[in-house]
């Protein structure tokens, strides 16, 4: 795997390969010295053009546990527009000849542009605009498989802002590719036309979407969506789409996932978030292992691997 630009472009074998490798790296965390010499001498640059605490921390920890040299590259926004900064940043980075670049951007397609502009680097997408967040989807699939024992045939329901969610897009692709049955539901203002192309079934009413689900994935609702009138108020959102214990009871004893950070009392009740079916904190744990597996897999197809490993 040269890059991980998205779940789009990934084969089922590649995806399953990462999920199969991840437990090995989970064991690393339990060692007295939680470190393996997989990426010795390699730089992993974390290019975060958009603030992200969790994903950045998770990737940094993953890189450190693989003995890489992590480099944080967080350009300050300046008077230049975002786009100009991005091209200049890409060129600056290219001059440093980085090995692996982990990129987070508010712009859809930024990892694709970076891969084109820095031909020597290997690019991992840590979330781009409303497009993809592939490592989040991989860790979600890993978590589902860990708790339910399989992915093929699992009934998954994704609830929330489907229009702006890269987590939704990557999960829809990955889970359907691995044979899950994915239904989704959200306010009609936040459900774009054409979702069937992603292989998911979009339902208007939450009750129907939750019926018989084995896993429920709750998406984070952004405060700014209210200002743009996609939803009237947070209170109304909770009333219509918040995952409560009562609503969870309609499922087939589903596990509950959320990419974080949580808006308690908006998209999810505390009772559910902290309840026995919540696997939210386990997602965070799994995230580090899955990202280690991704980094290791990418490093294996590095243009430099025949030299450094030889």
């Amino acid at each position: 795997m040269r890059h991980l630009l998205g779940i789009r472009g990934l084969t089922p074998e590649e995806a399953l390969g990462i999920l199969d490798e991840a437990p090995r790296y989970q064991d690393v965390a339990d060692q007295p010295v939680p470190r393996v010499p997989v990426l010795v001498g390699r730089t992993v640059t974390h290019l975060f053009m958009e603030p992200s605490t969790r994903t950045q921390a998770s990737f940094q920890l993953a890189a450190k546990r693989l003995s890489a040299e992590p480099l944080s590259f967080v350009p300050k926004s300046s008077s230049l527009t975002k786009g100009e900064t991005f091209l200049d940043t890409a060129r600056t980075l290219a001059s440093m000849a980085p090995d692996i670049v982990v990129v987070r951007s508010a712009e859809s397609g930024a990892p694709h542009v970076l891969a084109r502009e820095i031909p020597t680097a290997q690019v991992i997408n840590a979330g781009d605009g409303i497009s993809e967040h592939p490592t989040q989807a991989l860790l979600d699939a890993f978590t589902i498989r860990k708790h339910l024992g399989r992915i093929a045939g699992v009934r998954v329901t994704i609830i929330g802002d489907l229009l702006h969610s890269r987590v939704f897009r990557s999960n829809a692709r990955l889970l359907t590719m691995l044979g899950a049955e994915v239904r989704c539901c959200g306010p009609p203002t936040l459900v774009p036309p054409g979702l069937d192309r992603l292989g998911v079934r979009s339902l208007l009413h939450l009750g129907e979407a939750l019926e018989g689900a084995e896993a429920v994935m709750v998406l984070r609702i952004q405060h700014e969506r209210m200002h743009a009138s996609f939803i009237p108020t947070e209170r109304e959102y909770y009333r219509e789409f918040g995952l409560t214990g009562e609503r969870l009871a309609r499922t087939d004893n589903a596990i509950v996932l959320h990419p974080g950070p949580l808006n308690r009392g908006v998209e999810i009740s505390s009772e559910v978030a902290d309840g026995p079916r919540s696997v939210i904190l386990d997602q965070v744990r799994n995230g580090v292992a899955v990202r280690m597996a991704v980094l290791a897999e990418i490093a294996r197809s590095s243009p430099r691997s025949h030299r450094t490993d030889g």
Binding site: G109, I130, P193
Partner: protein, 431 residues
């Protein structure tokens, strides 16, 4: 000293106005077509053998952006005019969104002067509909027309306020100027970067709904109806917009429309992996829209093919999709696309293509020519229908390089371009 008369000998003449399609000679003298027939050469004439080529009335692109004054790093009048003749266009009409905006007679005159200095294609300025293109007060249509403006348009910044649009249409009747409108409802476009639909949902880009265009088309047609004015709709892109224009024409309204080659050839899927060369307004649409546009150019709903040639600097287009500006170049790709993808494919006849490229736009703008009649300007586009070429942006005369057609191999190209009885472009420099 006046140029010697020229006889273009042996071309297949295609003139949709005279319904002429025959191998004949063309004699050009004193900047005009002097005669059409056989054995026209007189003593002292220069005879140019154009056997095997098609001679058509010079093409006219009624929708280009030449960026001068003010944005010369993107394009100048001279570089744009060079691109025009290399693309087979003997005339263009350039939009007003320069810096300063072309809302005053001095800017209009300046653009014409730059074009005269370049000495290639005729460049007809289109003045702003409203002062500063601010959408509030209409500009001085009378003085602008006198300075050489052939139409008014706030292209790119649609006139949002229906009361202002109504006044512009009403006032335009005084000088019989067409009001060209880029029909878009900016509130519906929002942050959209490509056409809303399955592909935008698939790759995760904010969408521009088709309604952003057709609501504005339908509103402006209603205003054309109540004012009786001439409305020209720029770059139709949706099936519903085309249907609205068809109904307006059937109702006898003075409504005309143009379509771009890219909307006739590509769909939203051309965005591929966030390719900024497929980012323009209106955005590339669904295949059903594309088919409706093909019908519109075949049945006369659309009057013109226009490129919306919108050059940007390479640094501006080499960005992430959402940050990059809207717009691609078109002057040097349009004719091969029309010949290969529309004519050779059987969607329209060659005569229809010539009508859309030469006659239709001139009728809308009130320009002479668009035919091969004696007395018409000696502006001729010569086509080689058999030659195959590959689109190579590096060879463009335009300063813009962004095109979704790079690398495409097309059959049929421009052999030479004649303006005012003089050859201003030849593919084989030897001719």
């Amino acid at each position: 000293m006046a140029d010697r008369p020229v006889v273009l000998r042996g071309a297949r003449l295609v003139d949709p106005v005279e319904e002429l399609d025959a191998v004949l000679d063309l004699r050009l003298a004193e900047g005009r077509i002097a005669a059409v027939g056989e054995g026209l050469a007189e003593p002292g004439d220069r005879v140019v053998d154009v056997d095997g080529l098609v001679a058509a009335p010079g093409f006219c692109d009624m929708h280009v952006h030449f960026r001068e004054p003010g944005l010369e790093y993107k394009e100048t009048v001279a570089s744009g005019a060079a691109a025009a003749v290399a693309g087979g266009f003997t005339a263009v009409a350039c939009m007003a969104n320069t810096d300063p905006v072309n809302d005053s007679p001095s800017v209009t005159a300046h653009i014409r002067q730059l074009a005269e200095q370049a000495g290639l294609a005729h460049v007809h300025p289109i003045a702003a509909t409203t002062q500063g293109m601010a959408g509030e007060r209409i500009s001085e249509f009378g003085s602008l027309k006198e300075a050489g403006a052939v139409a008014v348009s706030d292209d790119g910044l649609p006139v949002g306020d229906p009361a202002v649009m109504r006044k512009a249409l009403e006032y335009s009747r005084l000088h019989d100027l067409p009001v060209i409108e880029h029909c878009e409802t900016l509130e519906l476009t929002g942050e959209g970067a490509m056409r809303e639909g399955a592909y935008a949902a698939w790759i995760g880009l904010p969408g521009i709904p088709a309604a952003s265009e057709f609501i504005a088309v339908e509103r402006n047609i209603a205003l054309a109806e109540i004012t009786g004015a001439r409305l020209h709709i720029a770059h139709l892109s949706t099936a519903r917009s085309a249907a609205a224009v068809r109904r307006a024409k059937a109702a006898g309204l003075r409504v005309t429309a143009e379509v771009t080659p890219h909307h006739l050839v590509l769909t939203e899927e051309a965005v591929g992996d966030y390719d900024t060369a497929a980012k323009m307004k209106p955005p590339l649409a669904a295949d059903a829209d594309r088919e409706a546009l093909l019908t519109a150019i075949a049945d006369g709903t659309a009057d013109a093919i226009a490129t919306d040639h919108a050059p940007h600097h390479e640094d501006e287009k080499r960005l992430c999709f959402q940050s990059a500006p809207f717009g691609i170049v078109g002057l040097e790709t349009a004719v091969p696309l029309v010949l290969d993808r529309l004519v050779a494919s059987g969607a329209i006849s060659l005569a229809r293509a010539v009508r859309l490229l030469a006659t239709g736009p001139r009728r809308i703008l009130g320009l002479p020519g668009g035919d091969l009649r004696p007395g018409s300007p000696a502006d001729i586009t010569l086509l080689d229908l058999e030659a195959t070429s590959t689109i190579d942006p590096e060879s463009f005369r335009s300063r813009g390089r962004s095109t979704p057609f790079a690398g495409l191999s097309l059959k049929g190209q421009v052999a030479a371009t004649w303006v005012g009885g003089r050859e201003v472009y030849s593919r084989n420099a030897g001719r």
